[in-house]
């Protein structure tokens, strides 16, 4: 391994190896290699706007949820601005926190549609990904479904417009009950402070 600590006369201090380090210089604090961090932002389902066909809602205890039906495609919409500590060309992991309303162990087919837009871009584009999450077999047991999206075109400040839907008509959706969405976390790679 390389040097663990190095300070140069050019005003650069590096902690760690040449590959994996924390660097302090005139641009502030940055990370590289294995020391790149992951951070997240939570979007509560209370903050999402209804799509043309929207899921119902419910409350249990202190928990508010949106309830996606197994027989119809329903959707919710939201936005996220990439923060200034985002590592350009990193990835974005969308984690849905959801729970089933019965004990079936089929799969829920979730779909996430998205459009990354920068200044001057048209806001009309969309691409979508379907990913499945298996119900745990226990009603109301929280389950996390993760989709990893390429965010190659994103920079700090890029608007990430998205929708979340249950692709109920997709053959891979085999769960018989309602899927209760609580929130989603948007997890990104961070290489600076």
């Amino acid at each position: 391994m390389g040097t663990y600590y190095q300070v140069s006369d050019f005003g650069v201090a590096r902690f760690g190896t040449t590959v994996n380090n924390v660097t302090i210089d005139t641009n502030g604090i940055s990370f590289s290699g294995a020391l790149v961090r992951k951070n997240l932002v939570t979007v509560s389902c209370t903050e999402l706007a209804d799509g043309g066909t929207a899921p119902g809602s419910g409350i249990t205890g202190a928990t508010f949820y949106r309830e996606f039906d197994p027989s119809i495609n329903q959707s919710l919409f939201g936005h996220f601005i990439f923060p200034n500590d985002y590592e350009v060309a990193g990835s974005l992991r969308v984690k849905l926190h959801w729970a089933p309303d019965n004990t079936d162990t089929g799969d829920v087919a979730w779909a996430i549609g998205r459009d990354f837009t920068n200044e001057g871009d048209l806001i009309t584009g969309v691409s979508s990904t379907v990913f499945t999450s298996t119900a745990p077999g226990t009603a109301n047991a929280m389950t996390i479904a993760t989709a990893t999206l390429s965010a190659a075109s994103a920079n700090p400040g890029t608007n990430f417009a998205f929708f979340i839907s249950r692709a109920a008509s997709n053959a891979s959706d085999t769960f018989t009950g309602n899927a209760r969405l609580l929130s989603l976390s948007l997890e990104y790679d961070s290489d600076k402070v």
């Binding site: 391994m1 663990y4 600590y5 902690f15 760690g16 190896t17 994996n20 924390v22 604090i29 990370f31 294995a34 020391l35 790149v36 961090r37 992951k38 951070n39 997240l40 932002v41 939570t42 509560s44 389902c45 209370t46 903050e47 809602s57 409350i59 249990t60 205890g61 202190a62 928990t63 508010f64 949820y65 926190h97 729970a99 745990p136 226990t138 109301n140 047991a141 929280m142 389950t143 996390i144 209760r180 609580l182 929130s183 976390s185 997890e187 790679d189 961070s190 402070v193």
Partner: protein, 201 residues
């Protein structure tokens, strides 16, 4: 004080500060210990809450401030959920404060309840809520901003991955709620302790 600077080639760690209070860089990135840790806050805007089983009306004051308007003699509530950020120091308390304003000059007390449950992967999302309560007097000035004291959620079982379901309620039917008019909820602030700059990839 102990040593102010130490670099250990075996562990790959460099510590700036003393043994108790320091910034350490190493294979886990940059971590903060003791008094070098920082307080951070998240804001839940009033508009990001959703009405509960008995929902307060919402309103926009002076064309700029969105509020939920909690009535006297009613138990109305709003809800939200959040996962702690990756810079959260697991096991530390999470503090919630409510920012609100009164509809008139009365100085009676508003009884605010913050209810919460903590849910991790596999936990029951209908886990019974725990209730925290505070009384706060109206300031005597119409629509003056007031911030409640701390609603402290014990951090012993809170992980970075924990989902906190939050409910804010005015327990207006309670005899101790003596404020005579609407209480306007503007936002909630969630404060936590950070001791790192994120999790490993």
């Amino acid at each position: 004080m102990g040593t102010n600077y130490e670099s250990d080639e075996l562990t790959g760690q460099t510590r700036t500060g003393n043994v108790t209070n320091n910034v350490t860089t190493g294979p886990d990135g940059l971590t903060l210990l003791g008094t070098a840790r920082k307080k951070a806050k998240l804001t839940i805007a009033g508009g990001n809450f959703q009405g509960g089983s008995t929902s307060p009306a919402n309103a926009v004051l002076n064309d700029i401030t969105f509020v939920y308007s909690f009535k006297k003699n009613a138990d109305e509530c709003v809800l939200n959920a959040l996962q702690m950020p990756n810079d959260y120091e697991e096991g530390t308390d999470v503090i919630v404060n409510i920012i609100w304003g009164p509809a008139d000059t009365d100085t009676g007390n508003v009884k605010w309840d913050v209810k919460y449950n903590l849910v991790d992967d596999g936990d029951n999302i209908a886990t019974a809520a725990t209730t925290l309560t505070l009384l706060q007097a109206g300031p005597g000035v119409t629509e003056q901003r007031v911030t409640t004291g701390d609603f402290t959620i014990p951090g012993a079982s809170i992980l970075k991955s924990t989902l906190i379901n939050l409910q804010v309620e005015r327990n207006g039917s309670d005899g101790t709620d003596t404020y005579n008019n609407d209480a306007y909820l503007c936002a909630a602030i969630v404060q936590y302790t950070k001791n790192t700059l994120g999790s490993a990839l």
